[in-house]
């Protein structure tokens, strides 16, 4: 089958329930009210010529190519802007229309280069198609030079802008406005002089506010905006639908291929998470998959001071298992453990935890969700009965009030942020939703084009619980609670206990203002808005969970949602924005040491027996070690071997010195990854991993949506990751014989009630399924807790504010908080190996002008960032986005090692690290610290590789 781009219906679908019928070219068609004639025609298979219309943006009516004739009406209206009316009789092809369209095309082509054969869009160009469709054979006008011969803008690393080929249809401008919501593009000049411009005329694409989401490239009907890869290799010949492996939004993409060569990733319009949109990472930053630094052969070494020796897979499996057996015999089976990855598929994650529980014989398995959303698991399970967000992403379309706390969606969840921003801007006469942002920084969403938060509560880092309890105080004491909902759906005694607690004067906004630094009146107004503004939805991220009271904050959020009746329908809910592509899935799959898949505690005899019968081995009923506890035990000399799949704990986990001490104390560290990451500096065995393009499986996004990941190329390392884990299991003597990940999913479904109805066949039929997928909900569950909470009655939990022990003082007077930037992803292992470094080549420290002046620091200066745990250096940027007393940085670059300064403090319930609060001092610096220099030398030494010398 040859390549075809996805169907374009010309204008967006109407959401109306009312259906209308009309006749187009003699054929009847029934469509929802509000549907354009153009779309109605497309839905019945009639293609009306068009240039300025595409179904990702509203109709515009500028190109005059889609004209039609309607019986009983004068003239030739544009089909894109004319809605269908009942009984309408439309003609799309008449001699009169043909003449008009040919005339329009002639004008377009008179100012367009005629280099079709050598053009990058040859074969995939709407202008070319329409010239053919209208039968244009010659151009009578002199070729104008208004647009021809202009300089190309090559500044964006992923796409070119060739203004000579522009027909000024403004699809790119409208896509930037309506789909992405950045409003970076504009039409400059008028009439013949109209030109598309990124920002000011002096800006190029890279220097403008363009975020490189690709929406403009997608919308462009010509080669004006075109992927550099298309220019380089030509058009694709086939496409495969798959799921992005970056953040927890889980965008659906068409991987467009030539043979096994990736040409481009194009957002899929039928993707239910992204609805046809993308961001710079998913759309463009996949070059790491073929990066020269990928390790493709297994490697082993006796000591971390030795160079790596490459070996074949069989030898790697045999050596690994011999080491694990040696350690188990010498130190006992509890000296072994594993870490599953939120980057890997559900099936791979399930196998790693199965290997630990059934093969290692203990429950020492944890996952990187430990350091991000483990408090979500604890908090939502305790209050609602299950560890998941309550809504689908579509729900945001029905929000009236959006409360964002501890999340920076425009940077960390950009595609969902665009959907959220669309709702905040309002459209088609419907006013936008109101916005409350609770964040120490003025994140982009606080104020962006056509969006301004009603309330930005710039709290002191570490006081989330105090702020939320103060909001609860206002809601209860001002009688704004939805008592009818609470009586019906929640435990009334627990509510009463909670209401009494929050009503106490010590929880009032006024009393807590000195602690939170949030103006009491502003907080009261925000609480009233959330409680009374109709559908209120809370979206939160790691700024909630990565605190010593992360779990309490999640429960405080759940309390607020229950108290105001904002649960169980569209437009409301509690929505954790998951960091990595499969955090939800890794948690669902039983990656935590205390629970089996589907959140059943390991001490639950019935659940355990189910697994024991299926796996044919007894399971330990006691919880195992969490990641920080594994490191403690390693330092104590009782934890000796660790299998880490797809996580770089040395760079991503807090207090790097403690992590390295733990790793250094182990005798067998097995790293299973794409690259020699930082953890691999302390590893004895390296098992090369495969990318999401090289394997089959599923990811589960932040809305519990299980989505297929499809193999589009052969793994460069030879094996998909699940096959590597199976290889280890077989070498250990376990009877594993999976031939395809679908068989692993069948096992998951067999053993996990909330996945009972999930299978690869069902996923292929439906595209995706949101768990729970049960006999009662065979098509999944977009919204949870509709008729009742999973646990029965919703549980209010008293969340007293307990200040963190990480305190500022004379030596460390500032509070550091950390986060992500749009162009990079977590530790940067992928994005640093792409052209995304054009936007963010290094981590920067944001510091308020007052604090900067006190220290003599200017933008661009090197500064030393020191905490009680350690110190590093990086460059400063002076900005009032952060409040006085607060500094901020990202952790994407290994050379900065921001986690050298973060501490051991962690969430009281889950040990999720307190990344978001570290007391620090900033001072001028000349360059790298001793730690950075020593570490650089260690990395260089540790990454030496030698080929194995053949035995004589």
């Amino acid at each position: 089958m040859t390549y075809q781009s996805q169907d374009d219906f010309g204008t967006p679908a109407s959401r109306s329930d009312e259906m209308l019928s009309c006749v187009i070219d003699g054929r009847a068609v029934t469509v929802p009210a509000g549907t354009s004639i153009m779309r109605a025609a497309a839905e019945q298979g009639t293609s009306i010529p068009k240039l300025c219309a595409t179904d990702s943006v509203k109709s515009f009516g500028s190109c005059r190519l889609c004209l039609v004739e309607i019986e009983g009406r004068k003239g030739t209206p544009a089909s894109c802007t004319t809605p269908v009316e009942p009984g309408m009789v439309v003609h799309t092809q008449t001699p009169h229309l043909a003449k008009l369209r040919k005339g329009v095309m002639e004008l377009y082509i008179s100012d367009h280069p005629l280099d079709c054969l050598t053009c990058a869009a040859n074969g995939d160009c709407e202008l070319q198609d329409q010239a053919g469709a209208v039968g244009l054979r010659d151009v009578r006008y002199d070729v104008q030079s208004h647009h021809l011969g202009q300089a190309k803008d090559h500044s964006n690393p992923y796409f070119d802008f060739d203004p000579s080929k522009c027909i000024t249809c403004s699809r790119c401008v409208r896509a930037c406005d309506e789909v992405q919501g950045t409003l970076a593009l504009t039409v400059e000049g008028r009439g013949w002089d109209s030109k598309i411009s990124a920002g000011l005329a002096s800006d190029n694409f890279l220097g403008s506010e363009c975020v490189s989401c690709g929406a403009c490239v997608q919308a462009c009907p010509t080669a004006t905006l075109v992927e550099k890869k298309i220019v380089e290799v030509g058009t694709p010949e086939r496409s495969v639908i798959t799921t992005c492996a970056y953040c927890g939004v889980g965008c659906t993409f068409r991987a467009e291929m030539r043979g096994e060569q990736m040409v481009r990733m194009v957002p899929h319009k039928d993707g239910k998470a992204n609805r046809g949109h993308s961001c710079v990472k998913g759309r463009f930053a996949w070059g790491y998959a073929q990066h020269q630094e990928r390790i493709l052969k297994p490697m082993i070494r006796k000591s971390v001071s030795d160079p790596w020796v490459t070996v074949e897979w069989d030898e790697a499996f045999a050596y690994t298992v011999s080491e694990l057996k040696r350690i188990s015999e010498a130190y006992g089976k509890h000296a072994l453990g594993g870490i599953t990855s939120s980057r890997c598929t559900n099936e791979e994650t399930f196998l790693v935890q199965k290997l630990v529980r059934a093969g290692f014989g203990n429950n020492n398995v944890d996952t990187c969700a430990r350091v991000c959303h483990s408090p979500t698991g604890y908090g939502l399970k305790t209050t609602f009965g299950t560890s998941a967000g309550t809504q689908d992403f579509d729900s945001v379309e029905d929000c009236d009030v959006i409360l964002i706390i501890g999340a920076n969606p425009t940077d960390a969840h950009p595609v969902f942020a665009s959907r959220m921003k669309r709702r905040l801007r309002g459209q088609d006469g419907r006013p936008g939703a109101k916005l409350i942002v609770i964040d120490p920084r003025r994140t982009d969403i606080v104020r962006s084009p056509h969006i301004e938060a009603q309330h930005h509560l710039a709290l002191r880092p570490g006081t989330n619980v105090a702020v939320l309890t103060a909001m609860a105080h206002v809601i209860v004491t001002e009688a704004l609670a939805d008592e009818a909902f609470i009586k019906l759906r929640c435990d009334w005694d627990e509510y009463s206990h909670w209401a009494e607690f929050v009503s106490n004067a010590r929880n009032s906004p006024e009393h807590l203002q000195p602690v939170t630094l949030v103006d009491a009146e502003e907080l009261r107004a925000a609480a009233r808005l959330y409680a009374t503004g109709d559908n209120g939805a809370i979206y939160y991220g790691l700024g909630v969970t990565e605190h010593s009271q992360g779990s309490s904050t999640v429960m405080a959020i759940a309390n607020l949602a229950m108290a105001t009746g904002n649960i169980g329908r569209r437009g409301v809910g509690v929505n954790p924005l998951r960091g990595q592509n499969n955090v939800q899935g890794a948690c669902d799959m039983g990656s935590f040491p205390h629970e089996l898949s589907g959140y059943r505690h390991i001490s639950d005899g019935d659940a355990r027996r189910l697994f024991e019968a299926d796996w044919g081995v007894p399971l330990d009923p006691e919880p195992g070690l969490r990641i920080p506890n594994m490191l403690d035990a390693a330092v104590d000399g009782v934890f000796k071997a660790l299998y880490v799949q797809g996580e770089d704990i040395l760079q991503s986990d807090p207090n790097t010195k403690h992590v390295s001490a733990g790793l250094a104390a182990m005798e067998c560290v097995i790293v299973h990854d794409l690259f020699l990451n930082e953890t691999a500096n302390y590893a004895h065995i390296f098992l090369p991993g495969s990318t999401f393009l090289e394997k089959n499986g599923t990811f589960t996004n932040a809305e519990r949506r299980i989505q297929p990941v499809r193999k589009v190329m052969t793994p460069l390392n030879g094996l998909e990751d699940w096959e590597v884990t199976q290889g280890l299991a077989q070498a250990m003597g376990l009877d594993w014989h999976y031939s395809h990940p679908s068989e692993i999913m069948d096992e998951i479904a067999r053993l996990t009630p909330s996945f009972a109805g999930v299978s690869f066949n069902r996923l292929n039929e439906t595209g995706s399924l949101q768990w729970p997928v049960t006999p009662d909900a065979p098509d999944g569950s977009p919204i949870m807790h509709v008729d009742g909470f999973v646990r029965g009655k919703g549980r209010f939990v008293v969340t007293d504010y307990v200040p963190t022990d990480e305190k500022t003082g004379p030596r460390f007077p500032l509070l550091l908080t950390t986060g992500r930037i749009l162009s990079h992803y977590n530790v940067g292992a992928q994005t640093r190996r792409t052209e995304n470094v054009a936007w963010h080549p290094e981590d920067l420290l944001e510091i308020h002008p007052v604090d900067a002046e006190d220290r003599g620091v200017k933008t661009g200066d090197w500064v030393k960032l020191a905490s009680r745990a350690g110190e590093t250096t990086l460059r400063a940027t002076v900005t009032d986005r952060v409040a006085p007393g607060v500094v901020y940085t990202t952790f994407h670059h290994a050379v900065t090692q921001a986690n050298v300064v973060t501490t051991d403090y962690s969430d009281w319930a889950t040990n999720c690290p307190e990344y978001k609060v570290t007391a620090v001092q900033i001072s001028a610096s000349n360059g790298p610290t001793d730690w950075q220099e020593d570490y650089e030398a260690l990395s260089e030494r540790s990454r030496r590789i030698v080929a194995k010398v053949p035995a004589e």
């Binding site: 779990s551 008293v798 307990v802 009281w908």
Partner: protein, 70 residues
């Protein structure tokens, strides 16, 4: 911080956050039973009540009674 110091700190932190529960000691016992691995439980039982807040100490005592000191 040594491992024992760390788990004493953790126990106190759990106790502080569960102080407003209707039955704080029972809540601490439940939490530790559900989330701590056997070695951590053994270490804190062996450690005794030095440095533990009253509720945390009461909870550890109860765990020791239920399962024996080891």
């Amino acid at each position: 911080m040594s491992t024992v110091e760390h788990i004493v700190y953790m126990a106190n932190q759990i106790a502080a956050n569960l102080a407003t529960d209707k039955d704080p000691v029972r809540a601490i016992v439940n939490h530790i039973e559900l989330f701590w691995d056997p070695r951590m439980k053994a270490l804190i039982k062996a450690h005794g009540d030095v440095g533990l807040s009253p509720n945390a100490a009461a909870a550890i005592e109860q765990i020791a009674k239920q399962h024996g000191p080891g």
